[in-house]
């Protein structure tokens, strides 16, 4: 187990390093890409360019530049933005984290509850009218992109029906739960729902397929021969086994979302999270911030992968002793 854990951590560190090199090369060493030209602005004269190059250290060899940036990002933790000089990258990320976590955890609770309920219901009522209806609802949820759904929701809650039905909806933005828990909840309810709609559809479909497969297994026949109720067969036998792949997918999705994959939702609803930070950095081509957010996202995806691997063993006793 110890050897396995060490190997696992080593692999994770290697992946993080590889990502950092890749991102660095994309922004600093791709032919035709000159960060100095971007910072100096359009039609800058060669003297200005040269000055920018020297002051940002772009004249140093590429490996030195990489090591310097990693040193500032991870060891000194004082990497500063290229756009707003003096504004540090690491505190920006840690400040944005609570908003992202609030959004993702809330949405995850909703989509897991709704997705499991819908998937189980569809499998239990397979062949009856409810099954295609639930499946259709799931496809509908998957087919509505967050940026479209979010804008439509905003159109109704913030403008068209704001004076009537949605008077209680606060303006877009984010309020920390430590400041006002009720406002935190109100600000996040629609972002949660629109993010959850997409994932609930995917999870319901996945679970329905898994459950229908599980219900054909021999162990379900054995359970039925024992004389236990259909509900218990469905929940304790079939659902318990079908949840194994669902939970591992959940870990990966959750990691990616905490890493900033909720970018569209955050931008549409004006939530100042990691996704929003990445979005702004990309718009300004603020390389240190991009570097920081990408490394942060990679860290969460790798962490989620490791967590899934460890949790998998808890869910499935068959993988415990290997």
């Amino acid at each position: 187990m110890l050897g396995y854990t060490i190997r696992r951590i080593g692999a994770a560190l290697f992946v993080l390093w590889a990502i950092s090199v890749l991102v660095f090369l994309i922004f600093f060493a791709t032919p035709g890409v000159d960060p100095a030209a971007r910072i100096a602005g359009r039609n800058a004269d060669p003297a200005t360019l040269e000055q920018v190059r020297r002051s940002f250290g772009f004249d140093a060899p590429i490996t030195t530049q990489y090591l310097k940036m990693m040193n500032h990002l991870f060891l000194e933790r004082d990497l500063t933005s290229f756009v707003n000089r003096g504004s540090r990258v690491v505190p920006q990320i840690t400040d944005a984290l609570p908003a992202t976590l609030s959004l993702v955890i809330g949405a995850a609770v909703i989509w897991m509850a709704v997705g499991i309920a819908m998937g189980t219901a569809a499998a239990a009522w397979r062949g009856k009218a409810a099954d295609p209806v639930i499946t259709l609802l799931g496809i509908l949820g998957v087919s509505m992109p967050v940026y479209w759904l979010g804008e439509v929701i905003n159109l109704f809650t913030q403008s068209r029906m704001h004076e009537t039905v949605f008077r209680w909806v606060p303006p877009l933005g984010y309020v920390a739960p430590t400041e006002n828990p009720w406002q935190w909840f109100l600000h996040l309810i629609f972002p949660w729902l629109s993010l959850a709609v997409l994932y609930a559809g995917i999870y319901a479909r996945l679970l329905r397929g898994e459950l229908i497969g599980a219900l054909r297994e021999d162990y379900v026949r054995t359970a039925r021969a024992k004389g236990i109720s259909e509900r218990r067969i469905l929940v304790r036998h079939a659902l318990r086994c079908s949840l194994i792949p669902v939970v591992s997918l959940f870990g990966l999705d959750f990691g990616a979302l905490v890493g900033g994959a909720g970018l569209l939702t955050e931008v549409v609803f004006g939530i100042p999270g990691i996704g929003h930070l990445t979005y702004n950095a990309l718009q300004n081509l603020d390389l240190p911030v991009i570097m920081g957010t990408v490394m942060y996202a990679a860290f969460f995806v790798v962490l989620a992968n490791a967590a899934v691997d460890l949790f998998y063993a808890r869910l499935d006793p068959r993988v415990r002793h290997v």
């Binding site: 021969a225 318990r240 194994i244 068959r318």
Partner: protein, 324 residues
């Protein structure tokens, strides 16, 4: 003679097929006496598994219909509402299936499975159920049962798993144990152990046993009475001795001839029954075995009935009256 424990009359199981209904079981009748071991033999597709699953409502296919009569301790099982049937399944009639590798839910311990079986029919505490599970595991010959009760199915070997499944099936002292190919997935030495175990448990738990198999060796070892099935019908029935020593039906003779004998004549090739088992959708109107039978004659275009005194067979060769 005492009352039969289980009496099946004119059982029909049919499925909705592409071109009309397909009869998997066609007018099957048999009885199981208390304490008896009935062996049901037949090739794949002869309807032997489907008949027992149909009786207990284990066929979940919506296109399946089960008709006929199955009286168990005076109660009619066919048409019984599922809720009531559930109280019979596992408690009065338990089943053991072919493949012990896949017949236990992989995420629960062996003890959990046995406790679930007990608690489905008796209101006893988890602790007491666990205690019973340990006793049952000891009874079926699992070494160190107090520790093994917490093992997962994948940590057991095939034979051990089948022992655990039998322990689970016997947990509520059922009156009838239906074992569907209980030894097919096991190696030969383990097979013999499992058969011994079932015979021993019949004594201690007072259960009748119905063994469904394609293996004549298993039947000869364990059964009191034998029912030979072909094409969804019983073609021969009698005591184990009668069927093995004086088989009446050509199909039974074919089956017995294809078993190699120790000390017998050295054969270059084992005799086989020509042809393949027929699909239930392609059965002829007459005797289902006729297309493969060496002794077929004109009468075989009509369905022979299962007749005889004690030792029954469905063949015009042994029928008291042959149609002109």
């Amino acid at each position: 003679m005492s009352e039969p424990l289980f009496e099946v009359t004119d059982l029909q199981v049919s499925f909705r097929g592409r071109s009309g209904p397909v009869n998997a079981v066609n007018g099957l009748s048999y009885t199981v006496m208390p304490g008896q071991v009935l062996g049901v033999v037949g090739e794949s597709g002869s309807g032997k598994s489907v008949s027992s699953m149909g009786l207990l409502g284990l066929i979940r296919d919506r296109g399946a219909t089960v008709t006929g009569s199955a009286r168990f301790q005076g109660r009619e099982l066919i048409g019984m509402p599922d809720r009531e049937l559930r109280s019979v399944r596992g408690r009065e009639i338990a089943m053991v299936f072919q493949d012990p590798m896949t017949s236990l839910t992989p995420v629960y311990t062996v003890g959990w499975h046995i406790a679930e079986q007990i608690r489905a029919h008796e209101s006893i505490s988890k602790k007491a159920a666990r205690h019973r599970a340990i006793e049952l595991l000891a009874e079926v010959g699992i070494p160190d049962p107090a520790r093994r009760v917490d093992a997962y199915p994948h940590e057991f070997s095939g034979g051990m798993r089948q022992r655990a499944v039998i322990a689970m099936a016997l947990a509520c002292d059922p009156a009838l144990l239906i074992a569907d190919e209980p030894t097919t997935a096991l190696d030969v030495t383990t097979q013999a152990q499992i058969l011994d175990l079932m015979l021993r448990l019949r004594e201690t738990h007072g259960s009748s046993i119905m063994v469904i198999t394609h293996d004549m060796g298993v039947v000869s070892e364990i059964a009191d009475r034998v029912l030979v099935m072909y094409g969804g019908r019983a073609v021969e029935a009698g005591t184990c001795r009668e069927v093995f020593h004086t088989p009446h039906h050509p199909y039974t003779r074919g089956l017995l001839a294809s078993v190699p004998r120790i000390g017998g004549e050295k054969l270059h090739r084992l005799p086989t029954i020509p042809g393949a088992p027929i699909a239930s959708s392609e059965r002829p109107t007459g005797c289902a075995f006729a297309p493969r039978c060496a002794e077929r004659h004109d009468a075989c275009t009509m369905q022979p009935l299962l007749t005889g005194d004690g030792h029954l067979s469905a063949c015009w060769l042994t029928a008291p009256e042959v149609p002109a």
